[in-house]
Amino acid sequence: MAAGPEARAHRVGEVILAVDGVSLAFGGVKALSEVSFDVREHEVRAIIGPNGAGKSSMLNVINGVYHPQRGTIRYLGREYRDMDPHEVAASGISRTFQNLALFKGMSVLDNIMSGRNLKMRSNILLQALRIGPALREEMEHRAVVERIIDFLEIQAYRKTQVGRLPYGLQKRVDLARALAMEPRILLLDEPMAGMNMEEKQDMCRFILDVNDQFGTTIVLIEHDMGVVMDISDRVVVLDYGKKIGDGTPDVVRANQAVIDAYLGVSH
């Protein structure tokens, strides 16, 4: 399914995001300890691990929701500390959520348009009245959103309330909203969770297409090993907040520590 490396439109490039010795604790609970890895431009990078391994914490650290007690994160060569989520978002990192954080009462179109919010320049009053420059701007943003709607094949649901859509489609809308920010890095928090086989296959195809078409770097968390191994370039494995493996899917699959973490070992 994945195109071979020689066929890719965007060659995997330089390191774009580097996580170095990050530790995060909530009181006495160590969520992450001394985790280091990097993400290269245009690659599909997966973070996997059993439940409670610290995957979501890692994503929240990158995303600026949590601020790690120790360690650094360098993005595009610049170290960032204590950035808030909206600042991270403005810098080109967008994300989706495991349990979805869509506006259920709003239409699909409005949800995706909200992803363009950071890029809107005219003031809120003009936007509300839809006059002058605000109208022109909205039309430009709408054009971008329409391309995403076409890309993710959700034309039939533009005007549908998100809350009325089946789960698999809501996930797609979540992805659409994240894409609407035209991110350089897209963080996906368990994009396949709760999906049936067909929905998973669709989602895989969309993730690979996003990576291929827009060159977006993708960092995804997933505990479905099969899916991850098929679509990722490199995989980081966490267990109890520690990194226990890192490399291409083949390397990771053969790693004894990873096998033990997933299958359990008799002590």
């Binding site: 195109a3 054009a143 329409e146 709607i149 076409d150 094949e153 078409q213």
Partner: protein, 652 residues
């Protein structure tokens, strides 16, 4: 129509005519990125020219076949005309067919060029490339996902258009000369009929046949260049080709391509077509949606709906047919139009529909009347690929639920002694491609096409199709017995899922009934009728009474038809299990395998004719997981009332 189209005997010539006469009128619309984009006739002609130039530059020449695979897209239709400009023959293939099914047409016609919609279709063609060595060029419209494909056969449509523009610049007179060489007797297109009854056959149709039939029906309905059609059925189907290609080319109306298969309903509301076609199942699905939404509506809305729909049933059809209706009724209908019918038509996207057709299978009379009663001019037609569709159409004001109307101008009907319908028409196909044997079998020396359908012409001159000839039998007294006709009538009742009628060579007609578990289950629940399961419910006296009512209703209908009055159903039983394809009782397309059922349940058939009241059965059933089990039950057999034929009653 005032427009003079004489001398324009091919589609490319018609295209040039429209580009000249109504160059800025819309020809094709497509919704793209949420906005309807319009191609005028002039733009359409430009696109066709460039594509034709490109094809010529790629070596496509007179007599070559061009495979077209894709949903309704402007490019697909433009390519169709481009091939015809060069004297080539477009061969549209079903876009949802699996790769293996596409191999036969491509091999059969030694197709060298194919133009397809997107990656999905490219993948299919590449898959069968080893079996189809003739296929040297594949053009694709939508480049998404195809960037990394390195096969030498592939080329994008944009590139093809570019080649074409260059080619035409070098030789400006070429294309007009090629179009001028075309004649009405040339082959215009080839359609492969589905291979459910044997191998697929390529039906060869000439420009003359298609244009003649398209025009005859357009004249009859008064279609003109202000009409709008939604093109949403597969382009490989002859009907879609007539409605979205042949008829716009003779009248200049505009076709609209939906954004995707899922958005058809939304797009239909956007567009508001004036001319519409759908098979009965689409009308049924729409009605189901309406009914479900009405169930959820407030009590006030529900009661308004019930009241006005009852009135529409009573007088709506008459008003549409222009018959006499009382002043008060007319006023009330007007009010209903304001509060119910109008909004309902709007929701269905049918506010502007002047002419709607249905065909393909029998439509239930209630379903048919529903649409007519709310003011939608739904009519039936009869035709097939071999006849360029239009054989019979119901004219306005002469619409009946159970006929397909009188012959359209130019068509002659005749019947064999076995009641097989024969057709002679300017729209008849030329031949089955490379299959003289099949051609000779279905088209005789006098030019009559043998349809394989059995029917008769009723007192008003309307054609009535009753069954396939091979299924029609005779009762012992020689009276006509058309099992499918009876079964369809029964199946129109929501409580009856399947029916199997017996009677060939017997003295009377008896039937197996298969109840619809969901509908009868609901019915039982509403009545507080307890039951343990399918077998139990099927054997209830109350359910037998319900089924008897349905059957007697059918018998009453049959009594009114002199030809069929003898085949009223006299005895019936309700089967203890659903007929299943897994048990070999239905085909995979859910048609009853009558003979097989008759053999498998021979003891039940004997009981029906033997006068028994109860029969014990034990049946093997195969579960979905492959296990088998057995069901045993005592089936009751009941009589149904029959009615004297209407003619006899009048005489008495």
């Amino acid at each position: 129509m005032a427009e003079d189209l004489s001398g324009l005997d091919t589609f490319p010539k018609l295209l040039l005519h429209h580009a000249r006469v109504r160059g800025d009128r819309p020809a094709i619309r497509e919704k793209d990125l949420g906005i309807w984009q319009t191609w005028s006739w002039a733009r359409f002609a430009d696109e066709v020219r460039s594509l034709a130039g490109g094809l010529a530059a790629q070596g496509f020449k007179r007599g070559d076949h061009l495979a077209l695979v894709g949903d309704n897209r402007p490019r697909i239709y433009a390519a169709m005309c481009a091939a015809q400009c060069l004297g080539g023959i477009p061969v549209p293939l079903y876009q949802d067919a699996v790769a293996a099914e596409m191999a036969f047409p491509i091999q059969n016609a030694s197709i060298t060029h194919a133009l397809v919609e997107d990656q999905e279709q490219v993948d299919k063609l590449l898959e069968i490339l080893p079996q189809c060595p003739s296929l040297a060029h594949i053009y694709y419209d939508e480049p998404r996902g195809l960037r990394h494909y390195a096969q030498p056969q592939l080329m994008s449509c944009d590139k093809l258009l570019e080649l074409g523009a260059g080619f035409l610049k070098r030789d400006a007179a070429f294309l007009d000369a090629e179009i001028g060489k075309g004649a009405g007797s040339d082959t215009a297109a080839m359609f492969f009929t589905s291979g459910t009854t044997g191998a697929a056959k390529g039906v060869v149709l000439t420009h003359h046949s298609l244009i003649d039939r398209a025009r005859a029906a357009a004249d009859m309905e008064g279609l003109n260049d202000t009409d709008v059609v939604l093109a949403y059925l597969p382009p490989a189907w002859i009907g879609q080709n007539i409605f979205s290609y042949a008829q716009p080319f003779v009248t200049g109306y505009c076709i609209c391509c939906p954004e995707s298969a899922e958005t058809v309903m939304i797009d239909m509301r956007d567009i508001g077509p004036t001319y519409y076609f759908a098979p009965p199942r689409v009308f049924e699905a729409l009605l189901t949606q309406v009914s479900i939404r009405m169930e959820d509506a407030s009590a006030l809305k529900r009661s308004l709906y019930r009241y006005f729909m009852a009135m529409a049933r009573r007088i709506g059809g008459d008003i549409l047919d222009g018959r006499q209706v009382g002043v008060l009724d007319r006023l009330m209908y007007g009010l209903g139009n304001l509060v119910i019918y109008g909004p309902l038509r709007n929701v269905l996207g049918m506010s502007r529909v002047r002419v709607a057709y249905t065909a393909g299978e029998a439509i239930g009379p209630d379903l048919f009347r529903f649409y007519r009663s709310i003011g939608i001019n739904l009519k039936q037609l009869y035709g097939s690929t071999e006849t360029s569709v239009f054989v019979c159409v119901q004219p306005n004001g002469q619409v009946k639920a159970d006929t397909v109307g009188p012959a359209v101008k130019g068509v002659e009907l005749s019947f064999t002694p076995e009641r097989e319908l024969l057709i002679r028409s300017p729209g008849l196909f030329k031949e089955y491609y490379k299959n003289p044997q099949a051609t000779a079998e279905s088209k005789d020396a006098q030019g009559w096409f043998h349809t394989g359908d059995a029917g008769y012409v009723d007192a008003d001159g309307h054609l009535k199709i009753i069954d396939r000839v091979k299924d029609v039998g005779k009762l012992a007294d020689g009276a006509l017995f058309a099992p499918k006709y009876l079964e369809n009538k029964l199946k129109f009742f929501p409580y009856i899922k399947e029916a199997v009628a017996f009677g060939h060579g017997r003295d009377r007609v008896c039937a197996f009934i298969n109840m619809d578990m969901e509908a009868v289950g609901n019915w039982a629940e509403k009545r507080g009728l307890p039951y343990a399961g399918y077998v139990d419910l099927a054997s209830r006296d109350e359910v037998y009474a319900l089924m008897r009512e349905c059957i007697e209703q059918v018998n009453l209908d049959l009594a009114a038809e002199p030809e069929l009055a003898g085949s009223q159903i006299q005895r019936f039983l309700i089967l203890h299990k659903q007929l299943e394809a897994d048990d070999g009782e239905l085909t995979r397309t859910s048609k009853v395998r009558r003979r097989h059922v008759g053999e498998k349940y021979a003891s039940l058939v004997d009981a029906l004719y033997g006068g028994k009241e109860v029969i014990h059965v034990e049946a093997q059933v195969r579960y979905e997981d492959g296990r088998t089990g057995s069901i045993s039950a005592d089936l009751k057999i009941r009589d149904a009332k029959i009615f004297p034929p209407a003619a006899a009653r009048k005489a008495a």
